[in-house]
């Protein structure tokens, strides 16, 4: 079939940098390629990068640098060239033309990354009209003027995974943004980020549909819906395979089957072209989810919430499935009753890759302090703690080769803090994305060099617990 055959591995990406780079415009001809491409073309748009006002060379000088990948370095400078990290060390060989920011006495970290946000989606978090909606594209609801983005930016957040809610067993496809608040919608998309899809499980789907006397109303119904969906996808793929085989043999009479956006998206899960991000709380459900993934041959990138991972971390670690968890939220519903704040560190010690996430327009503003709590709950080292909100969430999103640590060649997504970012007293002073300054606490007003307009009021609190259909989703 075409999408599988022609675009190959590239399908995995929220492709913005289709060869042609800066000349890219919305190509009418692209739209003709195949309807299958439509969903993520919508996600892509045109990479109309605004003119960079950032200096070509920038040196953040003499800070305590938490690299997230290779420890914390005192009296360290970072040289940024053309938006990328060019050097990290006690001395750097930057040209004399470089703009130098004295960060003496300050702390420097990679930009904070939130792998689970529903910010900037107005109240369009859940298409809660069917338990299987894999062709929903969150980009279609992305409001780049939402105040929640600004408030997160001021908390040092540079990258977010904006996810569908948890009303549906198989929800929609996420959008990855760089928090370049003030730039155009397209310029805020993370170029070439992998595509992710949101799955859910447990109480939310069974409550949403059960309350309407529909399937699913139990966990049995939940998982059966998933299995049936993948059976449908396999059948769909087989139909296309048969057609493609005929075409390959030169059969001119072969009729192309109908392209079905929903089944196409499910097929992409089975083809490994979508990172599977699963909202899941209970230990038994992690095991069931992994079993189903094995049965149908896809990988689970991360369990989100994952509050009971500490019970089965040794079983999940070999699967290379990460978790994106709350630090200390608990007790808000039955499946959060066994939540303990030591979950993250205990799971990490058993070999699970652990990220902290917000699922909240509130917490997203202070994920650094959520990381600080991990020193308290379980004795994480500061390097381990900062990794939980930088490099590890970058891995979950699939952009850890580009951001999430202070390493040469990576995007210059950097935050200068007044004190140790894991402390209660930490404030983000300057936030750089791709080497460009997007937040500066020392300037009056919003402190946003690229934004001076009118923000939109965020809807609800940025979790699934918003208005209308969304409050049926829950956290």
């Amino acid at each position: 079939m075409q999408s599988a055959g022609t675009s190959g591995g590239k399908n995995l990406f929220q492709a913005q940098n289709i060869p042609g780079g800066s000349l890219l415009k919305p190509f009418p001809s692209l739209l003709l390629l195949t309807p299958v491409l439509l969903p993520f073309l919508a996600a892509t748009g045109a990479a109309a990068q605004q003119a960079q006002s950032a200096p070509t060379d920038l040196v953040l000088k003499n800070a305590t640098v938490m690299t997230a990948s290779h420890g914390t370095i005192q009296n360290c400078s970072v040289w940024v060239h053309a938006g990328k990290i060019a050097a990290v060390g006690t001395t750097v060989d930057a040209p004399s033309s470089a703009v130098v920011v004295d960060a003496t006495g300050k702390w420097l970290t990679p930009g904070i990354i939130d792998p689970h946000s529903h910010s900037a989606l107005d109240s369009d978090v859940n298409e809660a009209t069917s338990p299987v909606t894999p062709s929903m594209m969150m980009i279609d609801a992305f409001d780049n003027r939402d105040a929640a983005l600004y408030q997160a930016l001021a908390g040092g957040v540079t990258t977010e995974l904006l996810l569908h809610g948890s009303a549906n067993m198989i929800g929609g496809q996420a959008v990855v943004i760089k928090n370049k608040f003030g730039l155009s919608r397209d310029a805020m998309l993370f170029p070439n980020a992998p595509r992710s899809i949101k799955f859910a499980s447990g109480e939310n789907p069974k409550r949403v549909y059960g309350s309407r006397n529909q399937l699913p109303s139990t966990r049995m119904g939940n998982f059966e819906i998933m299995r049936q969906s993948f059976e449908n996808a396999k059948s769909y793929m087989a139909t296309w395979d048969a057609y493609n085989a005929k075409v390959a043999k030169g059969d001119k009479t072969a009729t192309a089957p109908k392209v079905d956006l929903k089944l196409e998206a499910l097929a992409d899960v089975l083809r490994g072209k979508l990172y599977v991000q699963i909202h899941c709380y209970r230990a038994d459900e992690f095991l069931t989810e992994e079993a189903i993934a094995h049965e149908y041959g896809y990988k689970i990138r991360a369990f989100h919430h994952a509050l009971e991972m500490y019970k089965v971390a040794d079983k999940i670690a070999p699967e290379n499935t990460a978790i994106a968890t709350f630090t200390d939220w608990w007790g808000f519903k039955d499946e959060a009753w066994d939540a303990i704040p030591w979950n993250a560190v205990m799971s990490m010690r058993k070999g699970v890759r652990v990220a902290l996430k917000s699922d909240s327009n509130d917490h997203i503003r202070r994920l650094n302090q959520e990381a600080g709590k991990m020193v308290h709950y379980g004795g994480a080292t500061e390097d381990e703690a900062i990794r939980m909100v930088t490099l590890n969430p970058a891995w979950i999103i699939g952009v850890d080769d580009r951001t999430g640590s202070i390493d040469v060649g990576k995007d210059a997504d950097l935050v200068i803090w007044n004190v140790d970012p894991l402390s209660t007293y930490a404030r983000a002073e300057k936030v750089y994305i791709d080497g460009d300054l997007f937040f500066d606490n020392s300037t009056p007003g919003f402190g946003t060099p690229h934004f001076s307009g009118v923000m939109h009021e965020a809807t609800g609190f940025g979790n699934d617990d918003s208005e209308g259909f969304n409050d049926e989703g829950g956290n």
Binding site: A147, A154, G331, M346, V375, G447
Partner: protein, 461 residues
């Protein structure tokens, strides 16, 4: 030692009549309690009189009996020494606004008793009647050094009910409730218009702010009228009693007049109309503050303002009210087009204007004011990060709260004569990285266990 405050004679006598109140006593004396404890070598954050770097704190019979610099305090020979070198010692934290004991599993109606939302005016709802002392949430909060809290009803109603002041230790409810009906919980703003057509409401009165205020004012006036009628009725039997002490004659008196009937709802409002106890008014928007304060002043209510997170434009006005304020939660979201730190800086801005502030543990959109109590110190620390002087931040979760709710002589600081609610931690109590090492309540060391630590330990094996 009797901590229970007899601050509410009228309502209490009423409740005694109804058989609703049990005698409030303190936790049973444990063997450890009689013994003198000496906490030595620690850094004492007294809250009331500064920091003592190398201090000694003596506890006997559940009270603090000495506080001072090492060497200046004589440690009795038989005292049990608690070595606090390298540790910070501070008074137990007090959360001014929680639903602890009114909710267990947030989504479960059966374990939730936060709001009696059948009417907006519910002053006769007593949190003491619903407080679940055995809640799993209390040990969780205690682990981070919270030893006391004000438990208030949910915020659905204009007048939601009467708060209790609790201690986070004790075998029974009566051990834990230090004061019942310590304050009247009120709310004003958009959320109380729930009967209106909005959001699936029933389209009934009151559906607007006008309706809410009219309804409130009418009820307060009704209570005043009720009291006048009651006083009048009380005079009449006295007259007949003058005539004869014979009961049968008394009964055969004026048969045309109905005997005075107690109205518990009206009764409940009287102590507050007399200004005997505070009303805590939950209100967010500046213009709502101005509206509700007019009513409060009209009826001479003794006000504590709560929340005020969207009042940046009237901070001087709030200061001029000369009322204490529970600011926040500090994590409430600012409005769009406000600077990101508009709420973060509020405690500092109000304190700068001379307002006595307290800080609560709530979060925006999170699990709510019962499950997050353990984060109380971090809320205060966050206020310090945004300009509130450190000492004021600590005071906002200790002494100020005690004073606002009538426990200033018993709790909230390390002072001689106060209840020995004392916490030992390995660093700054307001920092998220700090571990609490020991918690004393009434001078008794509390086990640092909760359902959560038991789960942790079970799965760490």
């Amino acid at each position: 030692m009797k901590i229970h405050m007899n601050m509410c004679t009228k309502v209490q006598s009423l409740l005694l009549l109804s058989g609703l109140i049990a005698a409030v006593s303190l936790p049973a004396q444990t063997t450890g309690k009689k013994q003198t404890l000496a906490i030595t070598g620690g850094k004492l954050l007294t809250v009331s009189h500064g920091t003592i770097e190398n201090g000694t704190l003596l506890i006997a019979d559940g009270k603090i009996i000495a506080v001072g610099v090492a060497g200046k305090v004589t440690v009795p020979k038989d005292a049990t020494i608690i070595d606090a070198r390298g540790l910070t010692v501070y008074p137990g934290l007090i959360d001014p606004d929680t639903t602890l004991g009114l909710v267990e599993v947030g989504s479960d109606q059966n374990s939730t008793d936060t709001s009696e939302a059948s009417d907006e005016i519910m002053p006769h709802m007593h949190v003491a009647d619903a407080f679940h002392a055995e809640t799993e949430l209390i040990p969780v909060a205690r682990l981070n050094g919270v030893t006391n809290a004000v438990v208030a009803p949910g915020t659905d109603d204009s007048v939601a009910g009467q708060d209790i002041f609790i201690q986070l230790a004790g075998k029974t409810r009566d051990d834990m409730i230090l004061g019942r009906d310590v304050a009247l919980a009120m709310n004003f703003g958009a959320d109380q218009r729930r009967r209106g057509g909005r959001g699936g409401g029933r389209g009934e009165f009151p559906s607007t702010r006008m309706g809410l205020i009219t309804q409130l004012r009418q009820n307060l006036m009704d209570a005043q009228h009720y009291e006048a009628t009651k006083l009048e009725a009380q005079k009449k039997p006295e007259k007949s009693a003058d005539m004869t002490s014979d009961k049968s004659v008394e009964k055969s008196g004026d048969k045309t007049e109905k005997p005075f009937e107690r109205d518990l709802k009206m009764e409940a409002l009287l102590p507050y109309l007399h200004g005997e106890r505070p009303v805590v008014i939950g209100v967010y928007e500046a213009y709502d503050v101005e509206t509700i304060m007019k009513v409060a002043q009209e009826f001479h209510l003794k006000v504590i303002l709560n929340h005020v997170t969207r009042t940046q434009e009237i901070l001087d006005e709030i200061a001029a009210y000369k009322v204490p304020v529970i600011v926040g939660p500090i994590y409430e979201l600012p409005r769009a087009n406000e600077r990101f730190d508009a709420v973060y800086t509020l405690p500092a801005e109000l304190a700068k204007r001379g307002v006595k502030i307290a800080i609560s543990s709530g979060e925006a959109g999170g699990p709510g004011g019962a499950h997050t109590v353990r984060n109380l110190p971090y809320s205060a620390g966050f206020a310090a990060a945004y300009g509130l002087p450190y000492d004021e931040a600590l005071k906002a979760i200790t002494l100020n709260v005690a004073e606002m709710f009538g426990f200033g002589d018993k709790l909230g600081s390390l002072d001689v004569g106060k209840t020995a609610n004392v916490v030992l931690a390995n660093g700054d109590p307001l920092d998220v990285r700090t571990d609490v090492k020991q918690v004393f309540i009434d001078g008794v060391s509390q086990p640092l266990v909760s359902r959560q630590t038991r789960l942790r330990d079970e799965y760490s094996k």
